[in-house]
């Protein structure tokens, strides 16, 4: 049982094998691993026997079969005639969509609330405090149910939809709004946007270098926004400015045309963002409070405004404290997005759950869920670790 293997080799006197820590360590390990293997063998043999009795063939062949179920919200083309593999992939994309948008929004909202809690305005800081306490002390699932039921029961049906300018229709079926008709120009506008992103990044780098070298500031933000908006707009004009739009219109019991943000998606996203931002706010607040008071006093002494102190001095330093706990909040959003199944949003777990019920292939499907979430979680932590290293204090 003793584990200190170090130094056992330097003994000059021979030790009995049952008193040698190295030997004991290995015996102990072999016993434990043997027990684990025995347990695994017991479980696997039972499983195989049960599967054989229920006549369920194991393997991933079912993935090529026709799924046959509808998915309400799809980012890529999907119909019930597609395979299970595609249905599960559609679910994965939905999970990523909710998690991605949720991460961005809850970071923004959480930072605002965390900074608000430190505001000299007593009322503002109290309101932010109550927000944090209310949202983090009630289960996320309850928020999701409440928001979903409020959307589906408080909003009118499609026929009495709230009509804004005859183009936005808000009802219990979701928010319908017009989108441009498909046009080859859009792809080229997308390319132009990507080019603008790259150009902005290089421009920002150049501007920072110049400011460090000469002290001359450069309007990075205005130029960047100009590039990001201007380049796609130029391409749009070059294609003859296509203006065709698909307008939503009431037909029968629901709207056709345009596009829709579904109530399930809205409820899931709003619930996730409200809940997680309460945790993010606490992380941001404690990160800023952990800084030395001299930092904000020195910044105030050289004449920076409150906004500038926060943006240029406090937040960049607080980032170093904030990033590691923030990573686990991002992972939480991703994992919590699986609560979608409770309000009927077709995320990864929901698609896989339908697949389990239809095919009975429980083990394979659960392996798929675990592999997918592990991949996403590990990618997020790898990215955040890289970012953390980048902003870490470089000490001599």
């Amino acid at each position: 049982m003793a584990v200190e293997a170090v130094g056992s080799r330097s003994h000059t006197t021979r030790v009995a094998p049952w008193n040698d820590p190295t030997v004991r360590g290995w015996v102990f390990q072999i016993v434990i691993v043997g027990l684990v293997v025995a347990l695994a063998w017991f479980l696997v043999s039972n499983t195989l026997e049960n599967l054989a009795r229920q006549k369920i063939a194991s393997g991933f062949h079912y993935l090529d079969r026709e799924a046959g179920f509808e998915i309400g919200d799809t980012m890529i083309a999907y119909s019930p005639a597609n395979t299970y593999a595609r249905a599960i992939f559609v679910g994965l994309l939905n999970t990523l969509k909710v998690a991605g948008i949720g991460i961005v929004l809850s970071t923004i909202l959480g930072t605002l609330i965390g900074v608000g809690r430190l505001s000299p305005n007593w009322l503002l800081s109290k309101i932010c405090e109550y927000y944090v306490e209310i949202f983090r002390n009630v289960p996320l699932l309850l928020w999701l149910f409440l928001i979903y039921k409020l959307i589906s029961e408080a909003f009118p049906g499609p026929r009495q939809a709230i009509n804004v300018l005859n183009s936005f229709f808000l009802s219990n079926r979701g928010l319908y709004f017009p989108v441009p008709l498909a046009n080859p120009a859009h792809q080229w506008m997308g390319v132009a946007f990507l080019v603008a992103v790259v150009a902005t990044w290089f421009m920002a780098r150049w501007a920072r270098k110049r400011q460090e070298a000469t002290g001359q500031p450069f309007h990075t933000i205005y130029t960047g926004v100009g590039l990001l908006v201007g380049l796609p707009a130029l391409v749009w004009l070059a294609f003859g400015a296509p203006v065709g739009m698909s307008w939503p219109a009431l037909k029968g019991f629901n709207f056709v045309g345009g596009t829709v943000i579904q109530p399930e998606f809205t409820a899931l996203l709003v619930g996730l963002v409200l809940y997680t931002s309460a945790f993010v706010a606490e992380i941001v607040r404690s990160g800023i409070l952990a800084l030395n008071k001299g930092q904000s006093e020195a910044a105030a002494a050289i004449g920076l405004s409150r906004g500038q102190i926060m943006r240029l001095v406090l937040l960049p330093q607080a980032m170093r404290i904030i990033v590691p706990p923030m990573t686990s909040q991002y992972l939480n959003i991703t994992k919590n997005s699986s609560l979608a199944i409770a309000i009927g949003y077709p995320d990864l777990v929901a698609s896989v759950n339908v697949t389990i019920n239809q095919t009975g292939q429980a083990i394979e499907n659960i392996l798929i869920i675990m592999a997918a979430y592990l991949t996403v979680s590990l990618s997020i932590s790898a990215f955040m670790n890289w970012y953390n290293k980048r902003i870490a204090l470089r000490e001599r």
Partner: protein
Amino acid sequence: MSDAMPTGERRQLAPPVDHTGVMGWMRRNLFSSWGNGITTIVLIAAVAWLLSGFLHWAVFTATFTAPNGQACRGHGACWALIHEKYRYIFFGSFPYQQHWRPLLAVLTMLAMLVSSADRRMWNGRLVVIWLVGTFITFLLMFGVLSFSISFFLTIALICGGIGMFARAGVGTAVEVNGWRAMAAIGAVGLVLRILDILPAWSLNIRAFDYVETGLWGGLPVTMILATYGLAFAFPYGILLALGRRSNLPLIKGLCVGFIELIRGVPLISLLIMASVMLPLFLPSGTTIDKFLRALVAVILFAGAYIAEIIRGGLQSLPKGQFEAADAMALSYPQKTILIILPQALRVVIPPLINTFIGFFKDTSLVLIIGIFDFLNTANQALVDPNWAGFPAEVYLFAAFVYFCFCFSMSRYSKYLEVELNKGTRR
């Protein structure tokens, strides 16, 4: 150095701004600048608007008693629904006449948790309180308890084993031999029981009518899942954390792999796994209670999170503690049980309470696999066609109950953090 007194009219300075009293407080905290003043006014307007709207709905136009949902329609909040359904929301489908049993069980668990919060109780008394409390809780919930002889033998083996290793060379010879005898009786008895030489004796206690777990619901289910999920996960989390810190490569690999796997996947996937895969894992013919499946999933999940918290506590100990224990020639179990864990666990009590809050909320996910926890009974209360259409009332009520539990625990954890750090704070 003669100061000529200035002649003529002297400029009168304004009196200093008053910083005391109500006006001074408001000047400092609400109207310290133009921007602040505008923010304050906008916020007051917004809060007043929201609060008046909410109070109008929840109090002034609300219906507090009504025969059915129809009578509520057109008014504000329908609290009559809560009045009608509160017993179902709290206790689920437990036989109506026997609702005093889950009520007493909840009170027992509350008493157990509250007395555990008192630092004067942090000694042997706590063990007694938990044993008695657990016995009463489950006796009330089940009505009938049956302890098989294997159960007693396993307890004897575990207690004897821990005592044997921890007290070797510390306690008197009589005491250590007592622990050894206890462990030996447990081990030998279990072997005899497995070989079917020892008959399947069991101790049956019949106090009330038997109520199966399928009928349990509401607050007791949430509290049992959270409390006992974590209580069972705790020793197992300690083992995982020790394994992760071990020098033995195979043990370390197993523990790291398990912890990271569990922490990387959502609780729902484990619950689905427990509900569809546990029956496959067991020999055919054995059925496993749905409630127990959920409890197993919660324990597996909680163990990995607890292990990471305890690892933090282990890492915070200075290396000298480990080395000093080695220098005293303590064995590994003695070093761990007598020196390391008491110090490491003390550091991690506040984060452990925060984990408990998290799990108290997360147990609500068991509704996905059809267990009637508090949130699920609240959900079911909405299904009644006589009372359809008032989700906000029920959810706000459930949110209020959850809030009371979680908020008081988070305040306690904050208080404890300050209290435990008194010795080290500057």
